[in-house]
């Protein structure tokens, strides 16, 4: 299983992602409607959208954790929903809530992947893990259990755990949502640097327009389960669609507050 992967760091192919006419519903409620887009190999692709618009659900379909109701998600030429794909593509997903292994220390959380796949000996694993912890300023927390960490630290551990995997496809679910501004900027730099060094394809789901506009090659906006716009990052700096401009740059207006507008529209 692990034989397909090169043990040496930062080597290997990268994969593009193709999502075609993807629909997903849970019982009666439809979450994603006919979503199509293509992420090229080595690209940083940002998906933005209001909360509840289906971004996490979309990532689950790409990661193969769920099967689309119709349509497909493909990684390279492999069907994302097929379990065998995971033997071909090394994929890492940074979960929105971290999804750390609560019974393992931070160090063991990071070491689990290389240990299970026998990528290198304990000394090599230690190097890799400490390097990842160092990048995210977590060395001091190596011995702690996830329950002893703050929300932002958990998020950083989750990111470090993904970096240790040396993935060929990296999916981030709101990676900066619980980080302070400096750590958010650091993370943007990490994502960009990683792509330069390893050509890893990254899909970043985020609310952080600073991150998306500064490092993403292309951006898609997902609203109510539909893609509202797709384009180069530069196109979104001053977008012509008022809904998108409002979403990316919501000006606080005390004269005419949004909740008042909503109240009036209900009357």
């Amino acid at each position: 299983m692990s034989a397909n992967f090169t043990a040496s760091p930062f080597v290997g192919k990268t994969f593009g992602v193709t999502v075609e006419h993807l629909c997903k519903s849970y019982g009666e409620s439809a979450v994603l409607h006919d979503v199509s887009f293509e992420v090229r190999p080595g690209e940083i692709y940002a998906i933005m959208g209001p909360s509840g618009s289906g971004k996490s659900v979309l990532l689950k379909q790409i990661a193969g954790l769920e099967t689309p109701t119709s349509g497909s998600a493909r990684i390279g030429n492999f069907d994302a929903a097929d379990p065998a794909t995971r033997n071909q593509v090394r994929l890492a997903l940074v979960f929105q809530a971290g999804a750390l292994f609560n019974s393992l220390s931070v160090y063991d959380n990071l070491a689990l992947y290389p240990r299970e796949h026998r990528l290198c000996d304990e000394a090599g694993i230690r190097d890799r893990v400490m390097h990842a912890l160092h990048i995210l300023s977590l060395e001091k927390s190596a011995g702690k259990l996830p329950a002893e960490l703050s929300g932002g630290m958990k998020k950083r551990v989750a990111i470090a755990r993904a970096l240790v995997m040396e993935p060929q496809l990296l999916l981030y679910d709101e990676p900066t949502s619980e980080l302070d501004p400096v750590m958010s900027a650091t993370l943007s730099e990490i994502i960009a640097t990683l792509r330069e060094q390893t050509a890893v394809t990254s899909i970043v789901v985020t609310h952080d327009s600073n991150l998306a506009l500064s490092i993403a090659d292309r951006i898609s906006i997902l609203m109510d389960g539909r893609l509202r716009a797709t384009g180069k990052a530069a196109e979104f700096k001053n977008h012509s669609d008022p809904v998108i401009a409002n979403f990316l740059n919501p000006v606080i207006d005390l004269q005419n507050p949004r909740f008042k507008q909503l109240e009036q529209s209900h009357e």
Partner: protein, 253 residues
Amino acid sequence: MKQCLAIIGHLGSALLLLGRSLRFTGTLLRQFPRFVEQCYLIGYTSLPIVTILLFFIGSVLALQSGYSMENFGAKQFIGTLVGLSTVRELGPVMVAILIAGRVGSAITAELASMKVYQEIDALITMNIPPERMLVLPRLAAIIVMMPVLTLIGILCGWFGGALTCQYTHSISIDSEVYFTALKQFMKNRDVADGLIKAEIFGFVIVLICCHLGLSTRGGPREIGASVTRAVVTSLIFILVLDFFVTKGLLLVP
């Protein structure tokens, strides 16, 4: 009707889970630390309660049979009765019930919380099959520990019966008489039957509890619901299987 289908569905997926787990049997050796950890959790930590429980069951059995066998003047055969019923029935069943309540509930709670907090999803994206890392070591541990626990429990039951016979005034059977009677009608086959039963119960409990834990959906509240369901299902399975396995074993010459 709907519930019947649901039960059959669960049975099917539990068997599929077993199949997927057994595919990784070859990895057991390199997962040895995990196996040892599970043996400790399943076996060692259950030991005190198994000994106490079976000790008192043997004692009560001796008291009750002393009372009823007095009528036949067959008190010297109390040892036979206590010995055989602990080996063939009460030992395996009581240990199984304990394991369902103590170990099964813990397994379901742990796996269900891993499922709810997306740890299982994380394992899957990391291409580490949960069957290999979580289910297989537990199944292996119960196979090893269940006969050990049952055997220890049975011995405690015998011992409890002997003490009661000797020191209860109304019975006053010397433990030498008790153990002679016990040995006289005890065959190796009886011990084997008891251990086979225990082994089947333990295996089924762990499989059910793993399956119900991993198939938990929804929020934290579902963890509790899954645990309850796992314990109740295990108890039902123990008692129903008990009848059929006993019947089957009695048919084997």
